[in-house]
Subunit: 438 residues, 2 copies
C-alpha cells in the first residue's frame, strides 16, 4: 500500500480503486499504517465523502477485520436485529427483543454503552443486580437458544478496525460523517451475522442528527450499505424532538420497559410500545414470518397481552444472571434517591424545543457519559410527565428528576434552561415516525 | 486547548479565533497534541484553507517555537535574503549572495537540502571539499561579518514546530497547501531575523507549482504573510518551463556559479545572471541602498565586472572551510565521471514540454533525493546545451549527462522520454520573469 498516495487520492476528491480501501483497513489492523496517516484520511473522507461502493468496501473490510458470528442453521428461525442511533429515553431494545423472541424470531443483540448522544442499552441492563453483559460466544449462543434473545456488550474481537478508527475519529473531530458512521454501525452488524435489520434513525433537537434531511441521508446510507453486504435492511426516521416515553436514565428505563412488557403501558409509555411495534413489524414483514405490517403488529401486541413477551424477558434476565425479584413490581428496581420536581411556571401548551439540553442535564446527573471513562449512576434519571403539545396548568409537574447529589442537580437544572417552553396557543406535535426507508 | 473543538472548527470551515492557533502550536511543540490530531487538522487546513490572519498567526507561532536570530545592530547594513521554491539548475543563491555582499549588504542565508522539487543549495556547496554548512550561531555571525554573507544549513533549533508539521505533512499528503507552504517558509525566514526578502516562486512544467495562477497565489501569500510578520517582502514568479542555465546537479552547478562570478556567463548561463540581477535589484531597491532597479542592476553587474563578487565568494568559501584551489578553473571542481550525450534525432526547434521529467532523471542519476535518506552523488548532473525555442540540427548535443553508474543512467534516460520535443516550426519561449509581486 502506497499510503501517502492513498490519502492523496481522497484529499484530491478522487475515488479509491477497488481493493484499495480493503488493503488500507487490513494494513491498519496489522499496524502498518500510522495513526496520523489514518486520521488524515478520515478527515479527507469527512470533507470529501465516500461513494456507496467505497463505503461498502470499507464496511466489509471492517467487518472482516475480526471475529464473525454465523447464526445460520438449517431450519432455525430468522435472525433479526434493531439498531438505534440513540436518543433520550430510548428503551425500545429492552421491549422489542422479548416481543420478537416471543413471536418466534431469534434476536441476538449486541449493544453499546452510553457516550454522548449514543444510548447505553448495556448500561441500562447493568442496573439489574447480577446482570452480565460480557458473555463469551458460546454463552451468548446458549442464552439466545434458551430465551430467543440476548443483549450483550460488544467484544473487542468484533470489528477491531472499527475500534481503532472510532478512537481516532473521537479525538480528531471526524465523528460526523455519514459514510464513516454507516461503516461503523453496519460493520459490527455484519460481523454479528444478522440476517434482517431495521435501523431507527432519530432526528430532532434531542438527536445526534437534528436535521431530518441528514437523518434521512444516514438512514438511506445504512440501508443501501447493509444491502451491499447482503443484509436485508430497512430504516425508520423517528421522532427525537422530545424524550421517548416516560422514563429517561438507566434503572428507571428498565423499570418502564418491564412495566410495558407487563401490559402496563399508559400515558407517555404508549409511544415506546408504538415505536416497538413499528420497528418490530418491519422485521416480521422482512423476515417473512408475517405477510404485512398490520398482521405483524397484531401478533406482536398479542405477545404482550398474553404475557409471553414478559416471560421471555424474565427468562433472558435470568439466563444472563440478573435478579428477577423486582420484576413483578418493576419500579421496585429503583435504588433510594432524592427527587426534584420541575413544575410549569404558567399554564399553556408544552413545547420541547431543545431536547438535547434535557439529555445534557441527564448526563450531568450521572445517567450518561461525556467521556468514555465517566461513571454511570444507575439511579440518576428522570420521569417525563409532559410531552410536546400537552396542555399544562401552572404548578403541574413536568419532570421529576431522580438524583443523589445536590451539586449535580444544580448543574443539571442550569443546563435544562431552554429545553422546553410553555406557549399560549396549542401546537401540533411531530409524528412518531417521520420517514420509512425500505 | 480543547483540541477536538479546535479541529472541529477548521473541519467545519470556520475561522479560528485569535490566539487559538498559537496555543495549538505551543501545545504541539510541548507534546500536548497527538500526531494524529495534528494531521487531522492539517488535512482540514489543506481542504478548507486558512485566512491570511490565521496564516500570519500560524507562521508567527512557528517562528516563535525555537531559537531566533537578531541581526539588528545600529549602523549595520540591511540584512537581506532570497528564497526560491526550487527548480532544476537553480544556483541563483550561489551567484547572488556574493554579489549582494559585494554591494555592501549582509546576506546571512539559511538554505535547505534537496528533496523532491526542493533545490539543495546545501548539497551543492558540500561538493566543495571541506565546505562546512553546519555552523554554530557565533560561527555563522563571524562568517557574515567577514565575508558579508554565509550560506548555512538550517539548525533543528530554528522553528522546530515546522519540523514536526513538515514531517506529518510529508507522510499524510498535506504538502500541497498554500497557507501551510507559506507558514513553513516564512516562519524560518522570520526566525532567521531577515529584514528584506525576495521570493523566487518558480512556475512551469519543472516546478512544484506548474500552474502560473497557483504560483502567483503562493507568491502573494508569501509576500502578505511576511509583511504580517514585519518582514519587508516582494516576490517574482519565474520561468521553470526549462532548466535554469547551463548546469544542473551539484558540483556542476557550483562550477557554473563560480564561472558566472568570474564574468564568464555565456550561452545559457546568461539566464542565471539575469535572474540574479532581477532578484538582487528588488532587494537593493527594497532596502533603500539604490533608488531604482535599473541603478541596482548596474551596481550589481559592476560587482561581477570588477571581480569583487568573485572575491567575496572566495572569501565565503574559505571562511566556511572550503578549498579554493579549483576556483580559478571552476570546472576543475568536477570529479571523474562518465558522460552520455543526448542528441537531436531531427532538426527543428526545441521545446521543453515536461521539464519535471528532466528533474526526475537527475534525481535517478543521484543528483537529488526522492526520500530524505537518499544519498547525493556530487558528480551526477547534466549540462543543458539547448533551451526552449533554440534552433537545433539533427545530431546536435542537447544534454550532456554526467554519471557514475550505467544502470542509473538507463533509468534516467527512460524517465527523460517526453521531457522535450523537436517541433518543425519556430516557437516563442516564455519570459524569465512572469510576474512581479510588490
Amino acid at each position: 500500500l502506497d499510503i501517502v498516495g492513498f490519502i492523496h487520492r481522497k484529499a484530491d476528491g478522487r475515488a479509491h480503486g477497488p481493493g484499495e480501501i480493503a488493503t488500507f483497513v487490513a494494513e491498519l489492523v496489522r499496524g502498518g499504517v500510522a495513526d496520523y496517516q489514518a486520521s488524515a484520511w478520515l478527515m479527507a473522507v469527512k470533507l470529501n465523502g465516500l461513494s456507496e461502493a467505497e463505503t461498502v468496501e470499507l464496511t466489509r473490510a471492517m467487518a472482516a477485520s475480526g471475529r464473525r458470528i454465523n447464526w445460520k442453521v438449517r431450519g432455525a428461525p430468522p435472525t433479526v436485529d434493531k439498531h438505534s442511533t440513540g436518543g433520550e429515553g430510548d428503551k425500545v431494545t429492552l421491549v422489542l427483543v422479548p416481543m420478537l423472541a416471543a413471536a418466534g424470531l431469534r434476536v441476538p443483540t449486541i449493544a453499546g454503552r452510553a457516550l454522548g448522544f449514543t444510548g447505553g442499552t448495556i448500561d441500562k441492563l447493568e442496573s439489574i443486580p447480577g446482570f452480565r453483559t460480557a458473555l463469551s460466544e458460546p454463552a451468548f449462543r446458549r442464552v439466545v437458544q434458551m430465551a430467543g434473545g440476548a443483549i450483550v456488550a460488544q467484544s473487542a474481537h468484533v470489528a477491531p478496525a472499527d475500534g481503532i478508527l472510532y478512537g481516532l475519529r473521537d479525538a480528531t473531530a471526524t465523528v460526523e460523517s455519514i459514510p464513516l458512521i454507516t461503516a461503523s454501525i453496519v460493520s459490527k452488524k455484519a460481523a454479528e451475522g444478522v440476517e434482517h435489520i431495521v435501523y431507527d434513525v432519530k432526528t430532532g433537537s434531542g438527536a445526534f442528527m437534528p436535521e431530518p434531511a441528514q437523518a434521512e441521508k444516514l438512514a438511506r446510507s445504512l440501508v443501501s450499505v447493509s444491502r451491499g453486504l447482503g443484509i436485508d435492511a430497512r430504516a425508520l426516521v423517528t421522532n427525537m424532538y422530545e424524550p421517548l416515553g416516560f422514563a429517561a436514565g438507566n434503572s428507571v428505563e428498565v423499570a418502564e420497559a418491564a412495566a410495558i412488557l407487563r401490559g402496563e403501558a399508559e400515558g407517555r409509555s404508549g409511544a415506546v410500545l408504538d415505536l416497538s411495534l413499528e420497528l418490530g413489524a418491519e422485521l416480521m414483514a422482512m423476515s417473512g414470518v408475517e405477510r404485512n405490517r398490520a398482521a405483524a403488529k397484531r401478533r406482536l401486541s398479542e405477545t404482550v397481552a398474553s404475557g409471553r413477551a414478559f416471560d421471555q424477558f424474565e427468562q433472558m434476565v435470568k439466563a444472563q444472571g440478573g435478579s428477577t425479584g423486582w420484576m413483578k413490581k418493576p419500579w421496585s428496581l429503583l435504588r433510594p434517591h432524592r427527587t426534584h420536581l420541575v413544575k410549569a411556571v404558567r399554564s399553556g401548551w408544552l413545547r420541547w424545543k431543545a431536547a438535547w439540553k434535557f439529555g445534557e442535564a441527564l448526563r450531568l446527573l450521572g445517567a450518561g457519559r461525556a467521556r468514555r471513562t465517566d461513571r454511570i449512576l444507575p439511579e440518576a434519571g428522570a420521569l417525563v410527565r409532559a410531552g410536546d403539545g400537552d396542555r399544562v396548568t401552572k404548578g403541574d409537574v413536568l419532570i421529576e428528576f431522580h438524583y443523589g447529589d445536590s451539586s449535580r442537580l444544580r448543574q443539571a437544572l442550569d443546563t435544562l434552561d431552554g429545553a422546553f417552553e410553555i406557549s399560549s396557543g396549542p401546537l401540533k406535535p411531530k409524528p412518531l415516525v417521520l420517514k420509512r426507508i425500505r
